[in-house]
């Protein structure tokens, strides 16, 4: 049941639901498949995948942060407190922390930040330090700073507006963090350019990492094979289902 569904800026809304267990036991990086309501204008047919922005077994609450883009998310945007939202989940494979990691770097762009916030909290709980590099078009689209601040993460904001979000600049930041011993693992979501950057640097500097991937989904539970992407396994390319084998994959596997 919907508790609240409020705008956080011009494009994004924050949806809070009372979902109970086991939904609220969702792990960082897992997602739900949402049956978005139809409106006068739209009748979305498929469900829509959405990663958990927060899940708290103690309160039974599950939260999503979503960008209003098309038929499905426009339907979601019409939900009001007290409405019901059929959701399937938690689904998929979440993030993992490598044994012995003491400090990790998370790098998110746009709505990818929503996916990484629970990971940062998971790291904090395991007493692992976090540096969060938040990237967006402009300052208005930077979100979730409070979530990262609350766990004591170091935050670096980069935007297109300020000219700081280029791959070159982010690469410089990552190299500095690594040199300072603050990058035992890399995590990213929301941009293929940044994913490739982290993959390349990870390989060069021997830093393991993970990425949360997106792909269009029909079933969300491994039945339809529409969400496949190519992944690298050794020197072979293999197809994997993002909903079932992911959505979180080792950075080294990205093809």
């Amino acid at each position: 049941m919907v508790i609240s569904n409020a705008w956080v800026n011009r494009d994004y809304k924050h949806l809070v639901l009372d979902a109970g267990l086991p939904a609220a036991g969702a792990k960082a990086g897992q997602f739900f498949h949402l049956l978005c309501p139809a409106t006068e204008q739209d009748s979305p047919f498929f469900r829509r995948p959405m990663s958990t922005y927060r899940a708290d077994p103690a309160t039974g609450r599950v939260e999503f942060l979503y960008k209003v883009t098309g038929a499905g998310t426009r339907g979601l945007a019409t939900l009001e407190a007290g409405d019901k939202l059929p959701m399937l989940g938690p689904l998929g494979v979440g993030f993992t922390l490598p044994a012995g990691a003491r400090h990790i770097v998370v790098l998110g762009r746009g709505v990818g930040l929503a996916t990484l916030a629970p990971l940062a909290e998971m790291a904090a709980q395991a007493r692992v330090g976090v540096t969060a590099i938040l990237s967006a078009r402009d300052a208005a689209n930077l979100m979730s700073q409070d979530r990262f601040t609350a766990i004591g993460a170091t935050i670096v904001e980069v935007t297109d507006e300020a000219g700081t979000s280029s791959v070159e600049n982010v690469e410089r930041l990552l190299r500095e963090l690594h040199a300072a011993g603050r990058a035992d693992a890399f995590y990213t979501c929301g941009s293929s350019r940044l994913t490739l950057l982290m993959q390349r640097l990870g390989a060069e500097l021997s830093v393991p990492g993970e990425v949360a991937m997106e792909q269009q989904m029909a079933c969300g539970i491994g039945m339809c094979y529409c969400c496949v992407r190519a992944f690298r396994e050794g020197d072979r390319l293999v197809s994997k289902r993002v909903c079932w084998d992911g959505p979180v994959f080792p950075l080294a596997e990205v093809a």
Binding site: F45, F46, Q216, G222, M223, C224, Y225
Partner: protein
């Protein structure tokens, strides 16, 4: 006590509801009780390994979807080794959907599977391109259907179901050809060829340009085909196309289907098949029926009473 059990093409099923090929996989076992299904039908397998089509592989349309998944397959060896033991843990019979590009290929794959313990029936998906017929689907014509069913029949003694394509102008003839060559049941039908274009990018919405339409939008078309097939053949018909509720399933039965397959609906509502089974029981209770037998083909044709032309 309401008894939903049915005899369908050589198999006794505890109820007439089963998944449609390609819309079901082992992962669903986390969500529904597999032992309640009438049967399992697998995604179509091929003898060789195949990767399937480029993405995007699906697009949503009004009340339905287009898919061009293709037939990604890890090959029959992998299937026999990894999948069959999984399904053997449950009570419903396992129907294996197969495909091949030639009559001979179909026959060889059916023969291979007939040796494997745990395979209860073969469903031949003859909607795929036939290389001997210039890439046209086997089931588009009665002649090519007859030839492939004949080859299949000679190669297996397992119950043989033949899944037809709606992309033909002669569905009744095709069904008759399948029956004459020894099919034990027909499945009507596969997806309807369609296309969708993104008007902003001017690109087809599917990586493969054209794809198969499924979901509620196609139901009236396939109900009509089941009705036509029912008048043409005496073997059981399994209805498939847009079924999401017990009411949909009953409509198919009235048109002539003895059993039904639920496809796309499971993507939207993972419990759809169970809901259909429960709904059938409720329908029987409401109508005071002991079972479903009396429904098959029981549509009452409304006789046309001529009236005078307008003056």
């Amino acid at each position: 006590m309401i008894d939903l059990s049915v005899d369908v093409g050589g198999l006794r099923l505890s109820n007439p509801v089963m998944p449609a090929s390609g819309t079901f996989a082992d992962g669903l076992a986390n969500t529904i009780d597999f032992n309640r299904l009438g049967a399992f039908v697998t995604k179509t397998i091929t003898h060789e390994k195949r990767t399937g089509n480029p993405v995007p592989r699906v697009a949503e349309v009004h009340s339905g979807m287009l898919n061009a998944i293709g037939i990604p397959s890890k090959g029959s060896d992998y299937f026999i080794r990894e999948s069959i033991p999984f399904y053997r843990k449950f009570s419903p019979p396992l129907v294996v959907s197969i495909s091949a590009p030639s009559n001979d290929g179909f026959a060889r794959l059916a023969a291979e599977l007939s040796q494997v313990e745990g395979v209860a029936a073969i469903e031949a998906n003859i909607s795929c391109p036939n290389i001997e017929e210039d890439g046209k689907a086997f089931a588009m014509h009665a002649r090519s259907t007859a030839a492939v069913v004949k080859a299949l029949r000679a190669s297996t003694s397992l119950p043989l179901w033949v899944k037809l394509t709606p992309n033909t102008g002669e569905i009744a003839n095709v069904a008759r050809a399948a029956q004459e060559e020894g099919a034990d049941a027909i499945v009507a039908a596969n997806t309807i060829l369609g296309m969708a274009i993104d008007i902003d990018t001017r690109r087809p919405k599917l990586g493969n340009v054209m794809g198969g339409m499924s979901g509620p939008a196609i139901k009236p078309i396939v109900v009509r085909m089941v009705y036509q097939c029912h008048r043409a053949v005496s073997i059981p018909i399994i209805g498939c196309g847009g079924i999401a509720t017990a009411e949909d399933a009953i409509e198919y039965m009235l048109a002539g289907a003895k059993a039904v397959q639920v496809g796309t609906a499971t993507f939207i509502h993972p419990t759809a098949m169970i809901d259909v089974i429960d709904g059938l029981v409720q329908y029987c209770r409401r109508k005071d029926l002991p079972g479903l037998q009396g429904l098959v083909g029981a549509v009452e044709d409304t006789g046309f009473v001529p009236f005078e032309a307008m003056a």
